[in-house]
């Protein structure tokens, strides 16, 4: 029997079992977590909005269904959503002054799917403004702190979701990943995070940053939980023109199947200069664990992978400048007060509503798309993107999965990289490739460097989420890195 005291550390699967065994109710879980969010967890600044009243009502309704013998895959399980997913009637700010007053009139498909599966929303999590950042410092609502050390960044852009799970404020949360925004914070806070294949999860109601790269995913305490949650949120959606009509496999079923004979590629280029020595050791030790379980480790090359960061900053900025042109102060969001004509109205609204990083990206995007520069930058980047994508394709002729570090080093200090955009961008050097090629990627905790968690990244073939989850699950059966909790939040 599990007790109410253990709730905060439990996985979704354990909480589900506990409710089934009547060890505790959904309302009890919800109340424990809400009091942690508003108490012990408050200094982390992980949440922008806490939907306590709504959560309690939903938990009571879930308990009634459970008593009546009803079952849904996520019935009564509390989660949080990144504040980038539209939630009907609940502030969705994207951590921007531009949307500080935006109340969506509809739910994102991800929110709708998880609600239909019985999940309860505890609130909306903090993030980098419009998901543009790798440290969660560009938020209009202030930075999120890393629960392992409050002076450090949790990573970004989904820093609030990662911190909330790592500090045991919630067992799982949604996130989005355009260049590493799920995997990087998952690694820096010591939890599991998966970004599925482009098109696997609907982008409808996900506030757009770079549409050819954006993809929703999850943060959890285990690969098993990620399998459960991803299975419920993924699927074809007529409302998203890039959603892919491929059936969602049963990610949980078969997760225990042996990984004997699984071919895992180790990218030589990932161990070049730039990677922290101890971080490299942790990753290599993790691969030894997988080897002991029967996986075969094969060295592979991704010759153009170093170009992924500059390619990304051309493509993503171009798409961002186009997507963010919708913020005009007319139909929703922030609106400037003093103006003499329509042009000034737009310029002031956008000049006052966007933060510095967002402005830089809009201007970079405008530059690379502007007359005279389009071919040299945008078109060139799309060609290099093709080369990077082909490198992955070739690698996957030899291997089933690609493994390596998620980040070059453990969490860095808040403020440390804010003056140098390039240094900040290079934090995503290992993660961006998967976005450019539309591949699924997962980060799982694989050790500690200077008492801070680091992650092992696994990248799969298109729609290969199942083998990522299976491999992650096996690793987590043999190790306990994913069970570690920061002392302060035990």
């Amino acid at each position: 029997m599990m007790t109410i005291k253990e709730i905060q550390n439990m996985t979704l699967c354990a909480l589900k079992q506990g409710m089934k065994d009547k060890d505790f109710t959904s309302l009890e879980i919800t109340e424990v977590l809400l009091s942690r969010i508003n108490g012990l967890g408050a200094p982390l600044n992980a949440f922008i909005t806490v939907t306590a009243e709504q959560a309690i009502k939903e938990a009571k309704d879930a308990d009634k269904l459970i008593v009546a013998g009803k079952d849904k895959p996520l019935l009564g399980l509390p989660i949080a959503h990144k504040d980038l997913f539209c939630t009907d009637g609940v502030l969705t700010s994207c951590a921007s002054k531009m949307l500080h007053n935006f109340i969506p009139p509809y739910d994102a498909s991800v929110v709708k799917n998880l609600k239909a599966s019985g999940a309860i929303m505890l609130g909306k999590t903090n993030m980098d403004e419009f998901a543009m950042g790798s440290s969660n410092e560009t938020s209009y609502y202030g930075p999120v702190k890393n629960p392992w050390n409050l002076d450090l960044s949790p990573g970004g852009s989904s820093g609030g979701s990662a911190t909330a799970v790592a500090a045991c404020l919630v067992p799982a949360a949604t996130g989005t990943d355009t260049g590493g925004s799920i995997r990087q914070p998952a690694a820096l806070t010591g939890i599991t995070g998966i970004k599925p294949t482009y098109g696997r999860v609907s982008r409808f109601g996900m506030i757009a940053f770079a549409s050819s790269l954006d993809q929703g995913g999850v943060f959890t305490r285990s690969a098993e939980d990620a399998a459960l949650l991803l299975g419920e949120m993924a699927g074809f959606d007529d409302n998203d023109s890039t959603s892919v009509d491929v059936p969602v496999p049963d990610y949980l079923g078969g997760i225990n199947q042996s990984i004997k004979g699984l071919k895992i590629g180790l990218v030589r280029q990932h161990f070049d200069a730039g990677l922290d020595d101890d971080n490299a050791i942790a990753v290599k030790e993790a691969l030894n664990v997988l080897k002991d379980q029967g996986a075969e480790i094969i060295d592979i090359d991704l010759p153009n992978i170093e170009l992924s960061v500059p390619t990304y900053y051309v493509v993503a900025s171009a798409e961002c400048s186009s997507n963010l042109s919708r913020y005009d102060g007319v139909r929703f969001g922030y609106r400037a007060e003093n103006y003499k004509d329509l042009n000034e109205f737009y310029c002031k609204t956008r000049g006052e509503g966007f933060g510095a990083e967002v402005k830089r990206r809009i201007m970079t995007g405008t530059y690379v798309l502007s007359a005279g520069y389009y071919d040299a930058y945008y078109l060139k980047a799309q060609k290099v993107r093709q080369l990077i994508s082909q490198d992955f394709k070739k690698a996957f002729e030899k291997v089933d999965l690609i493994a390596g570090p998620t980040t070059p080093s453990p969490a860095f200090a808040l403020g440390a990289k804010m003056d140098d955009p390039i240094e900040m961008y290079l934090n995503d050097i290992y993660t961006i490739g998967a976005n450019l090629a539309g591949l699924p990627g997962m980060s799982i905790p694989c050790g500690f460097v200077n008492d801070l968690p680091v992650g092992l990244q696994l990248v799969g073939k298109h729609f290969g989420e199942k083998s990522l989850l299976q491999c992650g699950h096996h690793y987590q059966q043999a190790t306990d890195w994913h069970l570690q909790v920061p002392e302060q939040f035990k």
């Binding site: 500059p310 969001g333 109205f345 690379v368 060609k383 298109h462």
Partner: protein, 95 residues
Amino acid sequence: MSLNKEQIKYLAILSRMDIQDSETKDVVDKLSRIVEFVDQLQAVSTEGTEPMAHPLEQGQRLRIDKVTEDNQREKIQLNANETNNGMYLVPKVID
């Protein structure tokens, strides 16, 4: 290639986004560094390579042009700063 103040002013106009004088130096400096950084792409040989259009090489899915949603004008316009008779108000554009 580094950018100058005039180019930044022009980009701000194209982006319909005010950049305050106090921000200009920082924007010039950081944007120049970003452009210099992405300039390394110029050295890559991409001859015969098609630009990538979609990560999964998919085309655009089409659907029949029919109404799929109810009219929610009032709910949607709750987010607008100024409306009148169901229409959005903007500063006068025609004299």
